[in-house]
Symmetry: C2
C-alpha cells in the first residue's frame, strides 16, 4: 500500500505520517522508485502503537523514539520493560539531580521486602526522590516507607501475576506501557478516594 492508503487505514493524517517518518518513529517504506514507496501491515501496526503511546499513555515523540529504537535494535524484553517503565512512570525527572550521597534509603527497603538486589533506574529514582523530599523538609519515617512498600509489593505481585507475555515486541511495549499507565493511574485515583475518605472522617471528628 502507499502513503494515502496507510493514512486511511491507520486513521493518521498523511502529514503526520510524514512527520513520524522524518522523526524516525516509522521506518521508511520499501522504495519502489524514487517517488513511490510500499508500506506493509507492520507499518499500520507501528502507527497504531505510536498513536496509543501518544494519546493514551501521553509519551512524547522523543520518548517513543527511544523505545522503538531499542526494540528495533533487539533489546531484551527485560531491558525494554525497564525502558518503558522509565518513561511511563517518569523515573528520569529528578534522577540527574542526585550525585552520590551517603544514605541510600532504597537499599533498606529492598532488604526489608527481600527484593532482588539489583541496581536499577527505579531504585535510583526512589533514592533521588527521597532526597528531594528530605530537602523539602517532608518527613518520611521508616514506618511510612514500610507501609507504602508493603502495599506496592502486594500490588506488583498482583500486577505481574496478571500479565501474560505477548508474542510480538510491539505488543509487549503496548501492553506494558498502557498497563503500567492505567494501573498507576488507578492507584492514584484510589489513593485520592482513600485520602478524601480519611479527610472527611477527620474533619467530621474535629467539627
Amino acid at each position: 500500500m502507499q502513503l494515502k492508503e496507510l493514512s486511511e487505514r491507520s486513521g493518521v493524517s498523511a502529514a503526520s505520517i510524514k512527520y513520524y517518518l522524518r522523526e524516525g518513529l516509522l521506518p521508511p517504506g520499501a522504495a519502489v522508485h524514487a517517488t513511490r514507496a510500499q508500506y506493509s501491515a507492520r507499518h499500520v501496526e507501528r502507527l497504531e502503537l505510536i498513536q496509543s503511546l501518544r494519546r493514551i499513555v501521553g509519551l512524547t515523540i522523543e520518548q517513543i523514539r527511544g523505545i522503538l529504537t531499542m526494540a528495533d535494535d533487539g533489546a531484551t524484553r527485560l531491558e525494554l520493560l525497564a525502558a518503558v517503565q522509565r518513561v511511563v512512570l517518569e523515573l528520569d525527572s529528578y534522577t540527574n539531580a542526585s550525585g552520590e550521597v551517603g544514605a541510600r534509603p532504597a537499599d533498606a527497603v529492598v532488604r526489608l521486602r527481600a527484593w532482588p538486589d539489583f541496581p536499577s533506574d527505579a531504585r535510583n529514582a526512589l533514592n533521588a526522590h527521597l532526597e528531594l523530599m528530605e530537602s523539602l523538609n517532608i518527613q518520611v519515617p521508616g514506618e511510612l516507607l514500610d507501609t507504602y512498600s508493603k502495599a506496592m509489593d502486594d500490588v506488583a505481585g498482583v500486577d505481574i501475576a496478571a500479565t501474560t507475555a505477548p508474542d510480538s515486541v510491539d505488543e509487549l511495549i503496548l501492553t506494558a506501557a498502557v498497563g503500567m499507565h492505567m494501573h498507576s493511574q488507578l492507584l492514584l485515583r484510589l489513593l485520592a478516594l482513600a485520602q478524601a475518605s480519611h479527610a472527611i472522617r477527620r474533619y467530621e471528628q474535629d467539627a
Copy 2:
C-alpha cells in the same frame, strides 16, 4: 515595597510578576497613585506559593488561579483540599468522558473499605477510569481492586495521621499540594521498584 523590591525579595522577575498580575494570580498592590503601588509581605508569600505550585508540583497557571480564587473567596478547608487533590492527582483528565452508566464499581470499593459514602471528584474519577480500562480491555478483577484499595487505605491512614493542620490558608494549600504530589510520586517510584523486582524474579524463573 514596590515592584522591583518585590521581585528581588521573591526571586521572581518583574516581568513574571506583571504576568501573574495580568493573569490574576497575584492581587494588585495598594495603588498609592496612578503609577505607584505598594506590595506587602503577603505578596511575597503568595509569590512563593505560586512558585512552589509551578516548579515543584508542576501545576499550570490556570490550575493555580482556580485554587487561589477559591481560597480568596473563602472556601472551606475541605473544599480547598478537594480542589488541590483534583489538580495534583489529575482527577479531571477523563471525568468528562463518562455519561451516567450502570455499574459504579467505586461504590463497591467504598462499601468494602467502609469509607464514608460521599459523592466526590475522586469517586467519579475512579469510576471514569475503571470504565476507560474496561473499554481498553484491561481486566480489573475485584481481587485486584481489593488489594489496591486496601493498600491505599493503609497509605492514606498514615498520610492523614502525619498531616498537621497549618495556620494560614496559603500554608494549607502549599503543604497539601506539595505533600500530595511528593507522596504520590513516592508511591509510584516504590511501585516501579516493586514491579522491577517482581519482573526480575519472574524472568529469572523463566530463564
